[in-house]
C-alpha cells in the first residue's frame, strides 16, 4: 500500500513547484533572518526530494521514469508531461545542490532586498527544474523562456558591475533571439507529426510530446532545417562560439549566484542531447552538420582558452574557460558514439561542480578585495591558505587532473573524438594544454609569490560557511573523480538508447526503445 502510494505520488511536480511556492511563502515574512532560514529550508527540502528520486531511479535503463502525463491544451497537442531518464536525472540533483550552496553563499553577501533576491532565486530554480524535467516541447519552451525573467532581475538588481543593465538586457535579447528560432523548429516538428498522424488516423493529430515525436519519421531535408533552428536556440543559450558574447558580460556584471547558475548548469548543451540528437538523428550525423558543429566546437576550445590566457579579471577568465569547456562538450556530443556522448554528459555535470566552484571562489575573493581583477591579488596563499588550497583543488579539477572528476569526463570525450576522427581529437588535445596554462598562470600570479600591494592587511581566511561550500564541492569532485561508476551507471541506459537511435535513424524507429515506459 505504501509502495503503491509512492509510485503514484507526483514527486516530479513537487520538485518542480516546491521552490516557487516556497518563494511565495517567503513574501509573508518580514524578518531577514527568517527569510534566509526559510529559503534554505525550502532548498534543502527540494534537495532531499531530488536525492530520493536519484536513489529510486533504476540505473542502466533507457526508460522514462517517474512519468506524469496530463493533457494541457488538447487542441494544439500540448501536454503537461514530466519525466526523468538517465540524461536528465543528474541535472535535477545538480540544480538542487547548487541552489542550496548559492543560498548559503548569499547568506551574508546579499544585503539589500534579501526577500526579493531569495524569491527570484527560488523562481529560477523552478524554471531550471522545468527545463530538465519537461518531456513536452512546449512545456520545455515555457520554462526555457520563463528562466529569463528571474535571471534578468537577478543580474539587474543584485549585479555588482556598472554595466549590469546592459548585460541583463543583452542576455535576455540574445537568448530570446535564439529561442524564437527554436520555437519555429518545435512548430515544424508538430506539423510533421500532424501530417503523419492524419494519414494514419492516429489520435491526437497534434502532439509536442517528445515520445510521440520520436515515433514518426522525418524527411532528411526537414530534419536539417529543424536541426539548425534548434541549434540557434541552444547555441545562444549554451553559449557555443560564436554566439557567446553575452556570457562574459553577464558573468562579470551579474551576482555570483547568477553566475553559478549560468556557468554551472549547461542548459544549452543539455538541449542538444535531450532534443536535437534523438529527434533528428539523421541530420545530426549528416556530414555537413557534423563538420560545421565540430569546427565550431574546436574553434570554441581554442578561442576560449586563448582569450582566457590574457584576461586580467578572474570572472572574465572563467567566462572564457567556460566557453572553452563547452567546446569540449560539443565535440564530445557530435562524435556521436557512446564514449563521446557519455563523456559530454558527465562533463556537463562536472562543470556544475568545478566551474561553479571556481565562481564561488571568485565570490570569496570578491568579498575580501571588492574586486576580481588580478591587480588586487598577489601572494595571497600565505595569508589565506585554506582559500588558496580550495582554489587550487577546484581549479585542477576544472583543467582535468587525474583523480578529479574533470579527468574522467575529458578523457571520455577525447576517447570518443579520436574514435570518430583523429584530426578533431588531435586539435582538442591542444585545448587541454592551453587550459592548464591559463589556470596555472593566473593562479601563480594571484596566489603565489610576494604579497600584492593591494591585498588588505586585515584579509581573513575562509569562514565556516565558505569552508562548507568549498568542502562539499570538493567532496563531489573527488567522488566522481575516484569512483564515477554510480554516475555512469545512471547514464548508460539512456546513452546506449541514443546511440542505437543514431544508428537506426528516424525511418526505422516506429517503436524506438526510448518509448518504453516504466512508471
Amino acid at each position: 500500500m505504501l509502495e503503491e502510494l509512492a509510485s503514484t505520488f507526483p514527486i516530479l511536480t513537487c520538485i518542480l513547484f516546491l521552490p516557487v511556492i516556497g518563494g511565495v511563502v517567503l513574501w509573508l515574512f518580514d524578518d531577514e533572518d527568517m527569510v534566509r532560514t526559510s529559503a534554505l529550508t525550502i532548498a534543502l527540502l527540494e534537495l532531499a526530494l531530488c536525492i530520493f528520486v536519484l536513489l529510486r531511479f533504476i540505473p542502466e535503463s533507457a526508460a522514462m521514469q517517474f512519468s506524469e502525463h496530463v493533457p494541457w491544451m488538447p487542441a494544439l497537442g500540448v501536454s503537461y508531461h514530466l519525466a526523468v531518464d538517465g540524461i536528465s536525472v543528474l541535472f535535477v540533483g545538480l540544480t538542487a545542490f547548487l541552489t542550496v550552496l548559492i543560498i548559503i553563499y548569499s547568506w551574508d553577501t546579499v544585503r539589500h532586498q534579501v526577500k526579493l533576491y531569495m524569491m527570484a532565486l527560488l523562481a529560477l530554480e523552478t524554471t531550471t527544474m522545468g527545463v530538465f524535467l519537461s518531456i513536452d516541447l512546449i512545456l520545455f519552451f515555457v520554462f526555457w523562456e520563463l528562466m529569463l525573467i528571474p535571471s534578468y532581475f537577478l543580474i539587474k538588481l543584485w549585479g555588482g558591475g556598472a554595466e549590469r543593465h546592459y548585460a541583463a538586457l543583452k542576455f535576455v535579447l540574445y537568448t530570446l533571439l535564439g529561442s524564437v528560432f527554436m520555437l519555429v523548429g518545435i512548430a515544424l516538428l508538430d506539423i510533421n507529426y500532424h501530417q503523419w498522424a492524419t494519414l494514419r488516423h492516429i489520435e491526437p493529430t497534434y502532439s509536442f510530446d517528445l515520445l510521440a515525436l520520436l515515433s514518426v519519421p522525418i524527411p532528411l531535408t526537414q530534419q536539417i532545417l529543424i536541426f539548425w533552428l534548434f541549434f540557434l536556440g541552444f547555441a545562444f543559450k549554451a553559449p557555443v562560439f560564436p554566439f557567446h558574447t553575452w556570457l562574459p558580460d553577464a558573468l562579470l556584471e551579474g551576482p555570483i549566484g547568477m553566475a553559478v547558475v549560468l556557468a554551472g548548469l549547461k542548459l544549452g548543451t543539455f538541449g542538444f542531447i535531450r532534443f536535437s540528437i534523438p529527434l533528428l538523428p539523421d541530420a545530426s550525423k549528416s556530414q555537413t552538420v557534423v563538420a560545421i558543429v565540430m569546427a565550431l566546437g574546436l574553434a570554441a576550445i581554442l578561442y576560449g582558452a586563448i582569450m582566457a590566457l590574457v584576461q586580467q579579471d578572474f570572472r572574465r577568465l572563467l567566462a572564457f574557460s567556460s566557453i572553452s569547456h563547452l567546446g569540449f562538450v560539443v565535440i564530445g556530443l557530435f562524435a556521436l558514439n557512446f564514449q563521446g556522448l557519455q563523456g559530454s554528459l558527465l562533463t556537463m555535470i562536472n562543470l556544475g561542480f568545478s566551474t561553479a566552484g571556481l565562481f564561488f571562489i571568485a565570490g570569496f575573493l570578491y568579498t575580501r578585495q571588492q574586486s576580481t581583477q588580478l591587480g588586487s591579488f598577489g601572494g595571497m596563499a600565505k595569508q589565506t591558505p585554506l582559500l588558496a588550497s580550495f582554489f587550487l583543488f577546484i581549479g585542477l579539477a576544472s583543467i582535468g587532473l587525474p583523480g578529479t572528476n574533470g579527468f574522467v569526463g575529458e578523457f571520455l570525450i577525447l576517447l570518443g573524438t579520436f574514435k570518430a576522427n583523429w584530426l578533431y581529437g588531435g586539435i582538442a588535445v591542444t585545448g587541454v594544454i592551453f587550459g592548464a596554462a591559463y589556470f596555472l598562470w593566473y593562479y601563480e600570479r594571484s596566489m603565489l609569490g610576494p604579497l600584492g600591494k593591494a591585498v588588505k592587511d586585515s584579509i581573513s581566511d575562509l569562514r565556516p560557511r565558505e569552508i562548507f561550500i568549498a568542502a562539499s564541492l570538493s567532496a563531489m569532485i573527488l567522488w566522481i573523480g575516484l569512483y564515477p561508476a554510480p554516475f555512469l551507471r545512471i547514464m548508460n541506459g539512456s546513452v546506449q538508447a541514443l546511440v542505437d537511435r543514431l544508428e537506426r535513424g528516424t525511418v526505422a524507429s516506429i517503436e524506438p526503445k526510448q518509448t518504453a515506459r516504466v512508471d
Binding site: 494541457w72 488538447p74 534578468y152 539587474k156 535579447l173 506539423i191
Partner: protein
C-alpha cells in the same frame, strides 16, 4: 420596385442584443437629462448595467446556438458575429470602468461621454454582423461618429483638439475610399452581399474596388501604411478613449475583413495572401522599430499596437481555418493585455499627472501592485510564456508555418525580439530607476477591478487556454468552406430556428 422586408416577429430575436442596447442608450440620455444632480459614477454604473445585460443576452444566444440572417442577408448573426459582439461589449465595459476617475477632467458633458461610448459600441456590434457592403458602410460610419467626438473631448487641451481634427479628416478620407470602393465593386458585380459574391471574375475594377475597401478597413485596424493617424490621435485623446480606440473598433473591423476575404474573395486567396503578408510585415517592423524611440507611454502603446495588428494579420494571411482561429484567440489575448496596460497608464496619470516613460521611474517601489501588473501585461504583449500572449503567438505561428509562410514567420520572430527590447526598457524604469518622489500611489477601486480582470484573463488564458480555443474554433466554423482547403463546399445554409 418595391422593397419588402421578409421578416417575422421571432426574427427580431436575432436583433435582441442590439435592440436592448439601443433602448438602454435612450435611457442613459433620459436619465442624464432628467437628473442633472446625478453623480457621474452612478451614470457609469448604469451604463455598465446595460452593457452587462447585453453581454448576458449575447452569451445566451451563443449558448442556445441561435443563428440566422435578417433583411435579405444584410445582417448575419452567427457564432463569429457573437464572438466579436462579446469582444466589443466586454472591452466597452472595461473602458467605462477605467473612465470613472478620469471623467473629472472633462469640464462639460460628462454624462454624454457614456452615451457616446455606448453608441460607438452599438455601431461596432452592427459591424460584427454586417454581411453586405452597405451595412458595412453605414455601421462603420455610425460607430466612428461617436469616436470623432470622444477623441476631442478634452476641449481645453490643444493635443486633444489636434487629435480630433486629424482623426476626423483622415476618417472622412477613409470613409470616402470605402464608398468609392463599394461603388466599384457593385458596378462590376451588381452584388452587395458577401455570400453572393462567391464566383467573381477578376477584373481591374473589382481589384481596385476591393483594394479601396481594404484600405478603409486598414485605416480602422491601423495597419501600415494606413496608420498615420494613430500616434497623434492616441497621444492626444483622453486615455480611456485611446484604450477604447485601440481595441474595440479593431475587433469589429476584423470581423468584416474575415467575411470579405474568406467568403467573397476565397477564390483569390493566393493574391490576397501576398497583399496581407506585405501589410503584416510592414506593420510589425515599422511599429516595433519606431516604438523603441518613444518617450511617452501612450505613444509606445500606440506603436506596439500597430505591431500587434501586424501579428494578427499573419493569421488572416494564412487564409485557413486554423489561422482564423488563431486570429480570434490572439485578439482576445490582446484585449486583456492591452486594456490592462492602458488601465495602468490611466491610474499612473491620475496619480502623478504624466504619461512620460521617465515618470514611471521607481513605480516598483511606489506601487508594487501597478508595477507588477504592468510587468505581466507587457510580458504578455511581448509573448513570454506562460502568459496569454505567448499562446496567441504560438497559435498564429503554427498556423502560418502550416501554410509555409516562412518569410512572414522569420520577420515575426525577429520582431518578437525587438519588441522585448522596448518593453524591457519600461520594466527597467519601473524596477531599477530611482523614483523622483517616494510617496506611494493611490489606486482607485474601479481601476483595480479592471486590472484584476485583465490580470485574471492574461494568466488564465495562458495557463489553461482550452476553453478559449474551443470557443474560437467553434466560432470560425461559420466559414465551412475554409474548414478544409481541399473541399470546395458552399457556405452552409444559415439555420433559422424560428421558422422565419
Amino acid at each position: 420596385m418595391t422593397f419588402v422586408l421578409p421578416m417575422s416577429f421571432p426574427d427580431l430575436l436575432l436583433l435582441l442584443p442590439e435592440i436592448l442596447l439601443t433602448s438602454w442608450l435612450c435611457l442613459i440620455l433620459i436619465v442624464d437629462f432628467s437628473f442633472p444632480r446625478l453623480r457621474n459614477e452612478q451614470l457609469a454604473y448604469f451604463s455598465i448595467a446595460g452593457l452587462v445585460a447585453t453581454l448576458g443576452c449575447l452569451a445566451w444566444l451563443d449558448y442556445t446556438g441561435v443563428t440566422g440572417t435578417l433583411f435579405a442577408n444584410m445582417f448575419a448573426l452567427d457564432r463569429m458575429a457573437l464572438f466579436f459582439k462579446m469582444f466589443i461589449v466586454g472591452s466597452t465595459i472595461l473602458v467605462i470602468l477605467s473612465s470613472i476617475d478620469y471623467i473629472h477632467r472633462f469640464k462639460f458633458f460628462r454624462g454624454e461621454y457614456y452615451f457616446l461610448v455606448v453608441m460607438s459600441a452599438l455601431g461596432m456590434m452592427f459591424m460584427a454582423s454586417a454581411n453586405d457592403l452597405l451595412t458595412v458602410f453605414v455601421a462603420l460610419e455610425f460607430s466612428t461618429l461617436g469616436l470623432y467626438v470622444l477623441v476631442a473631448y478634452l476641449r481645453e487641451d490643444i493635443g486633444s483638439n489636434e487629435a480630433g481634427i486629424k482623426f476626423f479628416i483622415l476618417g472622412i478620407f477613409a470613409a470616402s475610399l470605402l464608398a468609392y470602393g463599394i461603388s466599384l465593386v457593385y458596378g462590376e458585380t451588381g452584388k452587395l452581399v458577401f455570400s453572393d459574391m462567391t464566383s467573381l471574375q477578376a477584373t481591374p475594377g473589382l481589384a481596385i474596388g476591393f483594394l479601396l475597401i481594404f484600405a478603409a478597413l486598414g485605416f480602422k485596424i491601423g495597419a501600415v501604411p494606413f496608420h498615420s493617424w494613430i500616434p497623434d490621435t492616441y497621444h492626444g485623446s483622453p486615455t480611456p478613449v485611446t484604450a477604447f480606440l485601440s481595441i474595440a473598433p479593431k475587433g469589429a473591423a476584423f470581423a468584416i475583413l474575415l467575411r470579405m476575404f474568406l467568403v467573397s474573395l476565397a477564390t483569390f486567396r493566393p493574391i490576397w495572401t501576398l497583399l496581407l503578408v506585405a501589410v503584416s510585415i510592414l506593420s510589425m517592423t515599422y511599429g516595433n522599430i519606431v516604438a523603441i524611440a518613444q518617450k511617452n507611454m501612450k505613444r509606445l502603446l500606440a506603436y506596439s499596437g500597430i505591431a500587434q495588428i501586424g501579428n494578427v494579420l499573419i493569421g488572416l494571411a494564412t487564409g485557413t481555418k486554423m489561422g482564423s482561429d488563431a486570429m480570434l484567440f490572439y485578439l482576445l489575448t490582446y484585449l486583456f493585455a492591452n486594456l490592462g496596460a492602458f488601465a495602468i497608464v490611466i491610474a499612473v496619470s491620475e496619480a502623478i499627472g504624466s504619461d512620460e516613460i521617465d515618470d514611471y521611474s521607481g513605480l516598483g517601489r511606489r506601487s508594487p501592485f501597478l508595477a507588477f501588473s504592468m510587468l505581466i501585461f507587457l510580458l504578455s504583449l511581448a509573448g513570454v510564456p506562460p502568459l496569454a500572449g505567448f499562446i496567441g503567438k504560438l497559435y498564429i505561428f503554427i498556423a502560418a508555418i502550416k501554410e509555409g509562410l516562412y518569410l512572414l514567420i522569420a520577420v515575426g520572430l525577429i520582431n518578437v525580439v525587438i519588441s522585448m527590447y522596448y518593453y524591457l526598457i519600461v520594466v527597467k524604469k519601473m524596477y531599477v530607476s530611482e523614483p523622483r518622489e517616494r510617496s506611494p500611489l493611490r489606486v482607485s477601486g474601479p481601476i483595480k477591478v479592471v486590472v484584476y480582470i485583465c490580470l485574471a484573463g492574461t494568466l488564465a488564458i495562458g495557463v489553461y487556454p482550452q476553453p478559449v480555443t474551443d470557443w474560437v474554433v467553434s466560432a470560425i466554423l461559420v466559414f465551412s468552406n475554409v474548414a478544409d482547403p481541399t473541399a470546395s463546399l458552399p457556405v452552409a445554409p444559415p439555420v433559422i430556428p424560428f421558422g422565419g
